[in-house]
Subunit: 300 residues, 2 copies
Protein backbone atom coordinates (compact mmCIF):
# COMPACT_ATOMS: atom_id res chain seq x y z
CA UNK A 1 0.00 0.00 0.00
CA UNK A 2 1.37 3.41 -0.94
CA UNK A 3 0.76 5.64 2.07
CA UNK A 4 0.77 9.38 1.91
CA UNK A 5 -0.43 12.18 4.13
CA UNK A 6 -3.88 12.28 2.54
CA UNK A 7 -4.83 8.78 3.77
CA UNK A 8 -7.37 8.86 6.57
CA UNK A 9 -7.31 6.67 9.66
CA UNK A 10 -9.87 5.78 12.32
CA UNK A 11 -8.93 6.00 16.00
CA UNK A 12 -10.77 4.89 19.14
CA UNK A 13 -9.83 5.80 22.68
CA UNK A 14 -11.99 3.38 24.64
CA UNK A 15 -11.89 4.62 28.20
CA UNK A 16 -13.71 3.31 31.23
CA UNK A 17 -15.60 6.61 31.49
CA UNK A 18 -15.88 7.76 27.88
CA UNK A 19 -15.19 6.75 24.31
CA UNK A 20 -13.52 9.14 21.85
CA UNK A 21 -13.69 8.34 18.14
CA UNK A 22 -11.74 10.23 15.50
CA UNK A 23 -11.05 10.19 11.79
CA UNK A 24 -7.79 11.94 10.94
CA UNK A 25 -4.66 11.77 8.85
CA UNK A 26 -2.52 13.11 11.70
CA UNK A 27 -2.51 15.54 14.64
CA UNK A 28 -3.00 18.61 12.44
CA UNK A 29 -5.69 17.13 10.27
CA UNK A 30 -8.56 15.80 12.38
CA UNK A 31 -11.57 15.48 10.06
CA UNK A 32 -14.22 14.41 12.56
CA UNK A 33 -14.42 13.55 16.24
CA UNK A 34 -17.10 12.46 18.67
CA UNK A 35 -17.13 11.46 22.32
CA UNK A 36 -19.80 9.84 24.48
CA UNK A 37 -20.00 8.14 27.89
CA UNK A 38 -19.06 4.48 28.21
CA UNK A 39 -22.33 2.75 29.09
CA UNK A 40 -23.33 -0.81 28.13
CA UNK A 41 -21.16 -2.49 25.48
CA UNK A 42 -24.15 -2.70 23.09
CA UNK A 43 -25.01 0.99 23.26
CA UNK A 44 -21.41 2.23 23.35
CA UNK A 45 -20.12 0.10 20.47
CA UNK A 46 -23.24 0.86 18.37
CA UNK A 47 -22.49 4.59 18.68
CA UNK A 48 -18.85 4.07 17.72
CA UNK A 49 -19.74 1.94 14.70
CA UNK A 50 -22.36 4.47 13.59
CA UNK A 51 -19.81 7.28 13.70
CA UNK A 52 -17.23 5.39 11.66
CA UNK A 53 -19.82 4.16 9.12
CA UNK A 54 -20.68 7.80 8.51
CA UNK A 55 -17.02 8.67 7.92
CA UNK A 56 -15.79 5.87 5.65
CA UNK A 57 -13.50 5.27 3.90
CA UNK A 58 -10.36 5.04 6.02
CA UNK A 59 -7.22 2.98 5.47
CA UNK A 60 -6.91 1.38 8.92
CA UNK A 61 -8.17 1.59 12.48
CA UNK A 62 -6.40 1.82 15.85
CA UNK A 63 -8.03 0.98 19.19
CA UNK A 64 -6.61 1.93 22.58
CA UNK A 65 -8.75 0.38 25.28
CA UNK A 66 -9.19 0.19 29.03
CA UNK A 67 -8.34 -3.25 30.35
CA UNK A 68 -7.23 -5.75 31.29
CA UNK A 69 -7.46 -7.04 27.73
CA UNK A 70 -5.95 -9.81 25.63
CA UNK A 71 -3.14 -8.58 23.37
CA UNK A 72 -1.79 -11.94 22.27
CA UNK A 73 -2.57 -12.43 18.55
CA UNK A 74 -2.14 -16.18 19.03
CA UNK A 75 -4.83 -16.37 21.74
CA UNK A 76 -8.44 -17.42 20.98
CA UNK A 77 -9.59 -14.38 22.98
CA UNK A 78 -7.27 -11.87 21.24
CA UNK A 79 -8.91 -8.45 21.24
CA UNK A 80 -11.28 -9.20 24.14
CA UNK A 81 -11.66 -7.19 27.31
CA UNK A 82 -10.88 -9.81 29.97
CA UNK A 83 -11.35 -9.45 33.74
CA UNK A 84 -12.52 -5.83 34.00
CA UNK A 85 -14.61 -4.88 37.01
CA UNK A 86 -16.60 -2.67 34.59
CA UNK A 87 -20.18 -3.95 34.51
CA UNK A 88 -21.11 -5.89 31.39
CA UNK A 89 -17.72 -5.58 29.69
CA UNK A 90 -16.10 -8.86 30.82
CA UNK A 91 -15.13 -10.93 27.75
CA UNK A 92 -16.53 -8.41 25.28
CA UNK A 93 -14.81 -9.08 21.94
CA UNK A 94 -14.07 -5.45 21.17
CA UNK A 95 -11.70 -6.05 18.29
CA UNK A 96 -14.03 -8.67 16.76
CA UNK A 97 -16.99 -6.30 16.68
CA UNK A 98 -15.06 -3.74 14.64
CA UNK A 99 -13.50 -6.42 12.44
CA UNK A 100 -16.99 -7.71 11.56
CA UNK A 101 -18.01 -4.26 10.37
CA UNK A 102 -14.90 -2.68 8.81
CA UNK A 103 -12.74 -4.52 6.30
CA UNK A 104 -9.53 -2.65 7.15
CA UNK A 105 -6.47 -3.63 9.22
CA UNK A 106 -7.17 -2.91 12.92
CA UNK A 107 -4.52 -2.42 15.62
CA UNK A 108 -5.48 -3.16 19.23
CA UNK A 109 -3.63 -2.24 22.44
CA UNK A 110 -4.12 -0.77 25.91
CA UNK A 111 -5.09 2.89 26.25
CA UNK A 112 -1.78 3.68 27.96
CA UNK A 113 0.43 1.85 25.45
CA UNK A 114 -1.42 3.71 22.71
CA UNK A 115 -0.97 7.05 24.51
CA UNK A 116 2.76 6.27 24.87
CA UNK A 117 2.87 5.56 21.13
CA UNK A 118 1.11 8.86 20.36
CA UNK A 119 3.53 10.79 22.57
CA UNK A 120 6.48 8.95 20.96
CA UNK A 121 5.36 9.86 17.48
CA UNK A 122 4.04 13.39 17.88
CA UNK A 123 4.40 14.50 21.51
CA UNK A 124 6.89 14.67 24.36
CA UNK A 125 8.59 11.40 23.43
CA UNK A 126 9.65 12.27 19.89
CA UNK A 127 13.12 10.98 18.99
CA UNK A 128 13.45 8.86 22.15
CA UNK A 129 13.36 5.08 22.01
CA UNK A 130 12.20 4.36 25.59
CA UNK A 131 9.24 6.39 26.83
CA UNK A 132 6.77 5.71 29.64
CA UNK A 133 3.27 7.20 29.77
CA UNK A 134 1.28 7.19 33.01
CA UNK A 135 -2.29 8.24 33.50
CA UNK A 136 -3.35 9.35 36.96
CA UNK A 137 -7.12 9.74 37.00
CA UNK A 138 -10.02 7.39 37.74
CA UNK A 139 -7.34 4.72 37.93
CA UNK A 140 -3.58 4.71 37.56
CA UNK A 141 -2.15 2.96 34.53
CA UNK A 142 1.12 2.91 32.67
CA UNK A 143 2.31 1.88 29.25
CA UNK A 144 5.43 2.37 27.28
CA UNK A 145 7.44 2.21 24.14
CA UNK A 146 10.75 0.43 24.95
CA UNK A 147 13.47 0.16 22.35
CA UNK A 148 10.86 1.51 19.95
CA UNK A 149 8.29 -1.24 20.69
CA UNK A 150 5.12 -1.20 22.78
CA UNK A 151 5.25 -3.16 26.07
CA UNK A 152 3.33 -6.44 25.93
CA UNK A 153 4.78 -9.66 27.38
CA UNK A 154 2.58 -12.13 29.27
CA UNK A 155 -0.43 -9.78 29.43
CA UNK A 156 0.43 -6.07 29.50
CA UNK A 157 1.78 -3.76 32.20
CA UNK A 158 -0.58 -2.94 35.07
CA UNK A 159 1.74 -0.37 36.62
CA UNK A 160 -0.87 1.16 38.91
CA UNK A 161 -0.92 -1.96 41.06
CA UNK A 162 2.63 -1.87 42.45
CA UNK A 163 3.11 -1.82 46.22
CA UNK A 164 4.89 1.10 47.87
CA UNK A 165 5.96 2.08 51.38
CA UNK A 166 3.75 4.52 53.26
CA UNK A 167 5.00 8.11 53.13
CA UNK A 168 4.64 8.40 56.88
CA UNK A 169 4.06 6.15 59.88
CA UNK A 170 0.89 8.03 60.64
CA UNK A 171 -0.75 7.48 57.26
CA UNK A 172 -3.51 5.02 58.13
CA UNK A 173 -5.64 5.38 54.99
CA UNK A 174 -6.41 1.83 53.85
CA UNK A 175 -6.45 2.49 50.12
CA UNK A 176 -9.36 1.69 47.81
CA UNK A 177 -8.11 -0.91 45.33
CA UNK A 178 -10.60 -3.80 45.47
CA UNK A 179 -7.75 -6.25 44.75
CA UNK A 180 -4.79 -4.78 46.66
CA UNK A 181 -6.02 -2.08 49.01
CA UNK A 182 -3.02 0.22 49.25
CA UNK A 183 -1.27 -0.27 45.92
CA UNK A 184 -0.34 2.92 44.01
CA UNK A 185 -3.80 3.15 42.42
CA UNK A 186 -5.45 2.39 45.76
CA UNK A 187 -3.56 5.27 47.41
CA UNK A 188 -3.18 7.93 44.73
CA UNK A 189 -5.87 7.71 42.03
CA UNK A 190 -8.52 10.44 41.86
CA UNK A 191 -11.13 8.32 43.68
CA UNK A 192 -8.50 7.44 46.35
CA UNK A 193 -7.95 11.17 46.97
CA UNK A 194 -11.69 11.68 47.18
CA UNK A 195 -12.07 8.78 49.64
CA UNK A 196 -9.24 10.13 51.78
CA UNK A 197 -10.21 13.82 51.84
CA UNK A 198 -13.95 13.77 51.21
CA UNK A 199 -13.49 16.04 48.19
CA UNK A 200 -12.57 15.42 44.57
CA UNK A 201 -9.05 16.46 43.51
CA UNK A 202 -10.51 19.38 41.51
CA UNK A 203 -12.04 20.78 44.73
CA UNK A 204 -8.81 20.65 46.77
CA UNK A 205 -6.90 23.96 46.64
CA UNK A 206 -3.18 23.83 45.76
CA UNK A 207 -2.16 24.68 49.35
CA UNK A 208 -4.10 21.72 50.78
CA UNK A 209 -1.81 19.12 52.46
CA UNK A 210 -3.41 16.49 50.21
CA UNK A 211 -1.10 17.53 47.38
CA UNK A 212 2.13 16.97 49.30
CA UNK A 213 1.02 13.43 50.14
CA UNK A 214 -0.21 12.81 46.59
CA UNK A 215 3.13 13.99 45.17
CA UNK A 216 5.06 11.74 47.52
CA UNK A 217 3.10 8.62 46.51
CA UNK A 218 3.35 9.45 42.82
CA UNK A 219 7.11 10.08 43.23
CA UNK A 220 7.55 6.69 44.89
CA UNK A 221 5.81 5.12 41.90
CA UNK A 222 7.77 7.17 39.35
CA UNK A 223 11.13 6.42 41.01
CA UNK A 224 10.34 2.67 41.01
CA UNK A 225 9.45 2.92 37.31
CA UNK A 226 12.78 4.68 36.65
CA UNK A 227 14.78 2.02 38.53
CA UNK A 228 13.04 -0.79 36.66
CA UNK A 229 12.58 0.63 33.16
CA UNK A 230 15.26 3.33 32.80
CA UNK A 231 13.13 5.42 30.41
CA UNK A 232 14.45 8.40 28.46
CA UNK A 233 11.39 10.35 29.56
CA UNK A 234 8.33 9.87 31.80
CA UNK A 235 5.08 11.50 30.74
CA UNK A 236 2.36 12.04 33.36
CA UNK A 237 -1.17 12.53 32.06
CA UNK A 238 -4.74 12.00 33.24
CA UNK A 239 -7.21 14.11 35.19
CA UNK A 240 -5.27 14.41 38.45
CA UNK A 241 -2.22 15.73 36.56
CA UNK A 242 -4.29 18.70 35.33
CA UNK A 243 -3.13 20.10 38.71
CA UNK A 244 0.11 21.43 37.26
CA UNK A 245 1.46 22.36 40.70
CA UNK A 246 2.00 18.62 41.23
CA UNK A 247 4.87 18.49 38.73
CA UNK A 248 7.50 20.43 40.73
CA UNK A 249 6.50 18.57 43.91
CA UNK A 250 6.89 15.19 42.20
CA UNK A 251 10.21 16.12 40.55
CA UNK A 252 11.75 17.32 43.83
CA UNK A 253 10.62 14.18 45.63
CA UNK A 254 11.94 11.86 42.87
CA UNK A 255 15.37 13.54 43.15
CA UNK A 256 15.30 13.11 46.91
CA UNK A 257 14.35 9.41 46.59
CA UNK A 258 17.03 8.71 43.95
CA UNK A 259 19.62 10.38 46.19
CA UNK A 260 22.17 10.79 43.39
CA UNK A 261 22.43 7.07 42.62
CA UNK A 262 21.67 7.36 38.90
CA UNK A 263 24.31 9.71 37.54
CA UNK A 264 22.44 11.05 34.56
CA UNK A 265 22.22 14.77 33.77
CA UNK A 266 18.55 14.20 32.92
CA UNK A 267 17.88 13.33 36.56
CA UNK A 268 20.54 15.42 38.32
CA UNK A 269 20.27 18.63 36.31
CA UNK A 270 17.33 18.54 33.92
CA UNK A 271 14.56 16.76 35.72
CA UNK A 272 12.12 19.42 34.40
CA UNK A 273 12.65 17.85 30.98
CA UNK A 274 12.54 14.31 32.32
CA UNK A 275 9.20 14.15 34.14
CA UNK A 276 6.79 16.08 31.95
CA UNK A 277 3.15 16.58 30.99
CA UNK A 278 1.95 15.11 27.69
CA UNK A 279 3.08 17.04 24.63
CA UNK A 280 -0.32 16.31 23.09
CA UNK A 281 -2.29 17.48 26.15
CA UNK A 282 -5.43 15.40 26.49
CA UNK A 283 -5.06 14.07 22.95
CA UNK A 284 -2.25 11.50 23.60
CA UNK A 285 -4.71 8.60 23.62
CA UNK A 286 -6.82 9.50 20.62
CA UNK A 287 -3.86 10.60 18.48
CA UNK A 288 -2.02 7.50 19.64
CA UNK A 289 -4.92 5.48 18.22
CA UNK A 290 -4.36 7.24 14.88
CA UNK A 291 -0.61 6.47 15.14
CA UNK A 292 -1.47 2.81 15.83
CA UNK A 293 -3.78 2.75 12.79
CA UNK A 294 -0.99 4.15 10.58
CA UNK A 295 1.47 1.63 11.98
CA UNK A 296 -1.01 -1.21 11.39
CA UNK A 297 -1.66 -0.12 7.80
CA UNK A 298 2.08 -0.04 7.11
CA UNK A 299 2.55 -3.57 8.46
CA UNK A 300 -0.34 -5.11 6.56
CA UNK B 1 31.12 -13.20 8.01
CA UNK B 2 30.04 -16.80 7.61
CA UNK B 3 29.30 -18.11 11.11
CA UNK B 4 29.18 -21.76 11.95
CA UNK B 5 29.32 -23.76 15.16
CA UNK B 6 33.11 -24.13 15.03
CA UNK B 7 33.74 -20.40 15.55
CA UNK B 8 35.01 -19.56 18.99
CA UNK B 9 33.92 -16.63 21.12
CA UNK B 10 35.37 -14.91 24.19
CA UNK B 11 33.11 -14.16 27.16
CA UNK B 12 33.71 -12.15 30.33
CA UNK B 13 31.48 -12.10 33.38
CA UNK B 14 32.91 -9.12 35.26
CA UNK B 15 31.42 -9.33 38.73
CA UNK B 16 32.09 -7.16 41.73
CA UNK B 17 33.57 -10.17 43.58
CA UNK B 18 35.10 -12.23 40.78
CA UNK B 19 35.82 -12.29 37.07
CA UNK B 20 35.05 -15.32 34.92
CA UNK B 21 36.63 -15.55 31.46
CA UNK B 22 35.68 -18.21 28.91
CA UNK B 23 36.42 -19.21 25.36
CA UNK B 24 33.62 -21.31 23.88
CA UNK B 25 31.51 -21.91 20.81
CA UNK B 26 28.38 -22.52 22.92
CA UNK B 27 27.16 -24.07 26.19
CA UNK B 28 28.27 -27.59 25.26
CA UNK B 29 31.66 -26.61 23.92
CA UNK B 30 33.62 -24.58 26.50
CA UNK B 31 37.27 -24.73 25.47
CA UNK B 32 38.87 -22.87 28.38
CA UNK B 33 37.72 -21.03 31.47
CA UNK B 34 39.38 -19.18 34.32
CA UNK B 35 38.11 -17.22 37.30
CA UNK B 36 39.86 -14.94 39.77
CA UNK B 37 38.90 -12.35 42.40
CA UNK B 38 38.08 -8.81 41.33
CA UNK B 39 40.88 -6.72 42.86
CA UNK B 40 42.35 -3.52 41.38
CA UNK B 41 41.41 -2.75 37.78
CA UNK B 42 45.07 -3.03 36.69
CA UNK B 43 45.62 -6.48 38.16
CA UNK B 44 42.20 -7.85 37.26
CA UNK B 45 42.16 -6.67 33.66
CA UNK B 46 45.80 -7.78 33.15
CA UNK B 47 44.79 -11.31 34.16
CA UNK B 48 41.80 -11.29 31.82
CA UNK B 49 43.86 -10.02 28.89
CA UNK B 50 46.55 -12.61 29.58
CA UNK B 51 43.99 -15.42 29.49
CA UNK B 52 42.44 -14.30 26.22
CA UNK B 53 45.85 -13.68 24.56
CA UNK B 54 46.71 -17.29 25.33
CA UNK B 55 43.48 -18.47 23.69
CA UNK B 56 43.30 -16.48 20.48
CA UNK B 57 41.87 -16.52 17.89
CA UNK B 58 38.18 -15.90 18.58
CA UNK B 59 35.59 -14.24 16.37
CA UNK B 60 34.11 -11.77 18.87
CA UNK B 61 33.95 -10.94 22.56
CA UNK B 62 31.04 -10.33 24.95
CA UNK B 63 31.35 -8.53 28.29
CA UNK B 64 28.72 -8.59 31.04
CA UNK B 65 29.79 -6.26 33.80
CA UNK B 66 28.83 -5.01 37.24
CA UNK B 67 27.73 -1.39 37.15
CA UNK B 68 26.51 1.20 36.90
CA UNK B 69 28.09 1.46 33.47
CA UNK B 70 27.62 3.49 30.29
CA UNK B 71 25.78 1.52 27.58
CA UNK B 72 25.11 4.39 25.18
CA UNK B 73 27.24 3.87 22.04
CA UNK B 74 26.88 7.60 21.26
CA UNK B 75 28.37 8.65 24.61
CA UNK B 76 32.06 9.66 25.00
CA UNK B 77 32.23 7.34 28.02
CA UNK B 78 30.58 4.34 26.30
CA UNK B 79 31.92 1.14 27.85
CA UNK B 80 33.07 2.78 31.10
CA UNK B 81 32.15 1.72 34.61
CA UNK B 82 30.60 4.93 35.95
CA UNK B 83 29.62 5.62 39.57
CA UNK B 84 30.42 2.30 41.22
CA UNK B 85 31.20 2.32 44.95
CA UNK B 86 33.82 -0.35 44.13
CA UNK B 87 37.25 1.07 45.04
CA UNK B 88 39.37 2.12 42.06
CA UNK B 89 36.82 1.17 39.39
CA UNK B 90 35.06 4.52 38.91
CA UNK B 91 35.38 5.62 35.26
CA UNK B 92 37.48 2.61 34.27
CA UNK B 93 37.17 2.27 30.47
CA UNK B 94 36.59 -1.48 30.52
CA UNK B 95 35.47 -1.82 26.92
CA UNK B 96 38.34 0.42 25.71
CA UNK B 97 41.00 -1.73 27.38
CA UNK B 98 39.81 -4.84 25.55
CA UNK B 99 39.32 -2.97 22.29
CA UNK B 100 42.94 -1.79 22.42
CA UNK B 101 44.16 -5.37 22.69
CA UNK B 102 41.77 -7.45 20.62
CA UNK B 103 40.77 -6.51 17.08
CA UNK B 104 37.39 -8.25 17.17
CA UNK B 105 33.84 -6.91 17.61
CA UNK B 106 33.07 -6.54 21.33
CA UNK B 107 29.60 -6.43 22.90
CA UNK B 108 29.19 -4.68 26.25
CA UNK B 109 26.25 -4.79 28.66
CA UNK B 110 25.35 -5.22 32.34
CA UNK B 111 25.93 -8.61 34.00
CA UNK B 112 22.17 -9.07 34.51
CA UNK B 113 21.14 -8.12 30.95
CA UNK B 114 23.78 -10.55 29.71
CA UNK B 115 22.52 -13.29 32.06
CA UNK B 116 18.96 -12.65 30.79
CA UNK B 117 20.29 -12.99 27.23
CA UNK B 118 22.03 -16.27 28.10
CA UNK B 119 18.86 -17.65 29.69
CA UNK B 120 16.83 -16.49 26.66
CA UNK B 121 19.11 -18.27 24.25
CA UNK B 122 20.00 -21.47 26.05
CA UNK B 123 18.26 -21.55 29.46
CA UNK B 124 14.88 -21.08 31.12
CA UNK B 125 13.82 -18.28 28.76
CA UNK B 126 14.09 -20.14 25.46
CA UNK B 127 11.29 -19.34 23.02
CA UNK B 128 9.92 -16.45 25.14
CA UNK B 129 10.24 -12.86 24.01
CA UNK B 130 10.03 -11.13 27.42
CA UNK B 131 12.21 -12.58 30.17
CA UNK B 132 13.51 -11.02 33.40
CA UNK B 133 16.63 -12.22 35.21
CA UNK B 134 17.26 -11.20 38.82
CA UNK B 135 20.35 -11.89 40.85
CA UNK B 136 19.99 -11.96 44.63
CA UNK B 137 23.44 -12.12 46.17
CA UNK B 138 25.99 -9.51 47.24
CA UNK B 139 23.58 -7.03 45.70
CA UNK B 140 20.23 -7.32 43.97
CA UNK B 141 20.11 -6.54 40.28
CA UNK B 142 17.78 -7.19 37.41
CA UNK B 143 17.99 -7.19 33.65
CA UNK B 144 15.81 -8.38 30.88
CA UNK B 145 15.12 -9.17 27.30
CA UNK B 146 11.85 -7.43 26.31
CA UNK B 147 10.28 -8.06 22.93
CA UNK B 148 13.55 -9.85 22.13
CA UNK B 149 15.78 -6.87 22.98
CA UNK B 150 17.95 -6.16 26.01
CA UNK B 151 16.73 -3.39 28.35
CA UNK B 152 18.73 -0.18 28.03
CA UNK B 153 17.02 3.23 27.91
CA UNK B 154 18.50 6.23 29.72
CA UNK B 155 21.11 4.18 31.63
CA UNK B 156 20.08 0.58 32.38
CA UNK B 157 17.70 -0.95 34.91
CA UNK B 158 18.78 -0.84 38.56
CA UNK B 159 15.91 -3.00 39.78
CA UNK B 160 17.41 -3.71 43.20
CA UNK B 161 16.82 -0.11 44.27
CA UNK B 162 13.00 -0.02 44.21
CA UNK B 163 11.17 0.95 47.40
CA UNK B 164 8.76 -1.50 49.01
CA UNK B 165 6.42 -1.54 52.00
CA UNK B 166 7.63 -3.26 55.15
CA UNK B 167 6.34 -6.81 55.56
CA UNK B 168 5.27 -6.03 59.11
CA UNK B 169 4.83 -3.02 61.35
CA UNK B 170 7.38 -4.44 63.75
CA UNK B 171 10.19 -4.75 61.19
CA UNK B 172 12.55 -2.01 62.31
CA UNK B 173 15.67 -3.09 60.41
CA UNK B 174 17.01 0.05 58.70
CA UNK B 175 18.39 -1.62 55.58
CA UNK B 176 21.97 -1.33 54.38
CA UNK B 177 21.86 0.42 51.00
CA UNK B 178 24.27 3.37 51.26
CA UNK B 179 22.03 5.37 48.90
CA UNK B 180 18.51 4.33 49.89
CA UNK B 181 18.62 2.45 53.19
CA UNK B 182 15.63 0.15 52.92
CA UNK B 183 15.27 -0.39 49.17
CA UNK B 184 14.94 -4.04 48.01
CA UNK B 185 18.72 -4.50 47.94
CA UNK B 186 19.06 -2.78 51.31
CA UNK B 187 16.53 -5.18 52.86
CA UNK B 188 17.03 -8.50 51.09
CA UNK B 189 20.55 -8.88 49.61
CA UNK B 190 22.93 -11.41 51.19
CA UNK B 191 24.78 -8.72 53.20
CA UNK B 192 21.40 -7.30 54.35
CA UNK B 193 20.46 -10.72 55.72
CA UNK B 194 23.83 -10.96 57.43
CA UNK B 195 23.43 -7.49 58.96
CA UNK B 196 19.93 -8.36 60.19
CA UNK B 197 20.62 -11.83 61.62
CA UNK B 198 24.34 -11.75 62.43
CA UNK B 199 24.90 -14.78 60.19
CA UNK B 200 25.43 -15.21 56.47
CA UNK B 201 22.49 -16.71 54.51
CA UNK B 202 24.44 -19.97 54.08
CA UNK B 203 24.59 -20.35 57.88
CA UNK B 204 20.85 -19.84 58.46
CA UNK B 205 18.94 -23.16 58.53
CA UNK B 206 15.81 -23.50 56.34
CA UNK B 207 13.49 -23.37 59.38
CA UNK B 208 14.94 -20.03 60.56
CA UNK B 209 12.32 -17.20 60.51
CA UNK B 210 14.77 -15.21 58.36
CA UNK B 211 13.62 -17.08 55.27
CA UNK B 212 9.95 -16.21 55.65
CA UNK B 213 10.86 -12.52 55.84
CA UNK B 214 13.34 -12.82 52.96
CA UNK B 215 10.70 -14.53 50.80
CA UNK B 216 8.16 -11.82 51.55
CA UNK B 217 10.52 -9.00 50.52
CA UNK B 218 11.59 -10.82 47.38
CA UNK B 219 7.92 -11.54 46.54
CA UNK B 220 7.09 -7.83 46.91
CA UNK B 221 9.89 -7.05 44.46
CA UNK B 222 8.91 -9.81 42.04
CA UNK B 223 5.23 -8.82 42.06
CA UNK B 224 6.15 -5.19 41.32
CA UNK B 225 8.33 -6.38 38.42
CA UNK B 226 5.40 -8.44 37.10
CA UNK B 227 2.98 -5.48 37.30
CA UNK B 228 5.44 -3.19 35.52
CA UNK B 229 7.09 -5.49 32.97
CA UNK B 230 4.59 -8.32 32.40
CA UNK B 231 7.34 -10.88 31.65
CA UNK B 232 6.66 -14.35 30.24
CA UNK B 233 9.00 -15.75 32.89
CA UNK B 234 11.04 -14.50 35.87
CA UNK B 235 14.35 -16.19 36.58
CA UNK B 236 15.87 -15.84 40.06
CA UNK B 237 19.61 -16.48 40.35
CA UNK B 238 22.51 -15.44 42.58
CA UNK B 239 23.98 -16.83 45.79
CA UNK B 240 20.96 -16.31 48.05
CA UNK B 241 18.77 -18.26 45.61
CA UNK B 242 20.96 -21.33 46.09
CA UNK B 243 18.59 -21.83 49.04
CA UNK B 244 16.04 -23.66 46.91
CA UNK B 245 13.47 -23.70 49.74
CA UNK B 246 12.96 -19.99 48.98
CA UNK B 247 11.23 -20.69 45.67
CA UNK B 248 7.94 -22.16 47.00
CA UNK B 249 7.80 -19.45 49.68
CA UNK B 250 8.24 -16.68 47.08
CA UNK B 251 5.72 -18.21 44.66
CA UNK B 252 3.03 -18.55 47.33
CA UNK B 253 3.58 -14.97 48.48
CA UNK B 254 3.49 -13.58 44.92
CA UNK B 255 0.13 -15.31 44.35
CA UNK B 256 -1.17 -13.84 47.60
CA UNK B 257 0.02 -10.34 46.64
CA UNK B 258 -1.44 -10.52 43.10
CA UNK B 259 -4.78 -11.68 44.60
CA UNK B 260 -6.13 -12.96 41.30
CA UNK B 261 -5.89 -9.62 39.51
CA UNK B 262 -3.83 -10.86 36.55
CA UNK B 263 -5.91 -13.64 35.01
CA UNK B 264 -3.13 -15.64 33.43
CA UNK B 265 -2.85 -19.43 33.82
CA UNK B 266 0.92 -18.89 34.26
CA UNK B 267 0.24 -17.03 37.51
CA UNK B 268 -2.99 -18.69 38.65
CA UNK B 269 -2.16 -22.31 37.85
CA UNK B 270 1.44 -22.74 36.77
CA UNK B 271 3.45 -20.38 38.93
CA UNK B 272 6.06 -23.17 39.40
CA UNK B 273 6.92 -22.62 35.73
CA UNK B 274 6.70 -18.84 35.99
CA UNK B 275 9.14 -18.02 38.80
CA UNK B 276 12.07 -20.35 38.27
CA UNK B 277 15.79 -20.89 38.91
CA UNK B 278 18.21 -20.31 36.02
CA UNK B 279 18.19 -23.07 33.41
CA UNK B 280 21.96 -22.59 33.11
CA UNK B 281 22.59 -22.78 36.88
CA UNK B 282 25.49 -20.50 37.76
CA UNK B 283 26.53 -20.21 34.11
CA UNK B 284 23.81 -17.74 32.95
CA UNK B 285 26.24 -14.82 33.08
CA UNK B 286 29.26 -16.37 31.43
CA UNK B 287 27.24 -18.18 28.75
CA UNK B 288 25.26 -14.98 28.25
CA UNK B 289 28.59 -13.29 27.50
CA UNK B 290 29.21 -15.93 24.81
CA UNK B 291 25.68 -15.31 23.46
CA UNK B 292 26.43 -11.57 23.39
CA UNK B 293 29.69 -12.20 21.52
CA UNK B 294 27.85 -14.31 18.91
CA UNK B 295 25.19 -11.63 18.55
CA UNK B 296 27.85 -8.93 18.18
CA UNK B 297 29.72 -10.94 15.53
CA UNK B 298 26.51 -11.39 13.56
CA UNK B 299 25.76 -7.66 13.61
CA UNK B 300 29.26 -6.55 12.54
Amino acid sequence: MNLNQSFLYAGIEAGGTKFVCTVASGPDDVRAQVSFPTTSPEETLRKAIGFFKAHEPFAAMGIGTFGPCDLDPASPTYGHITSTPKLGWTQVNMLGIFRQTFAVPIGFDTDVNVAALGESKWGAGQGLDTVIYLTIGTGIGGGGVLNGQRMHGLIHPEMGHIRLPRVSNTDEFDGICPYHGDCLQGLASGPAMEARWGKSPAELPPEHPAWQIEARYLALGVSNFIFILSPHRIILGGGVMHQKHLFPLIRAEVKRLMNGYLQSPMILERIDEYIVPPGLGDRSGILGAIALAKHTAKKS
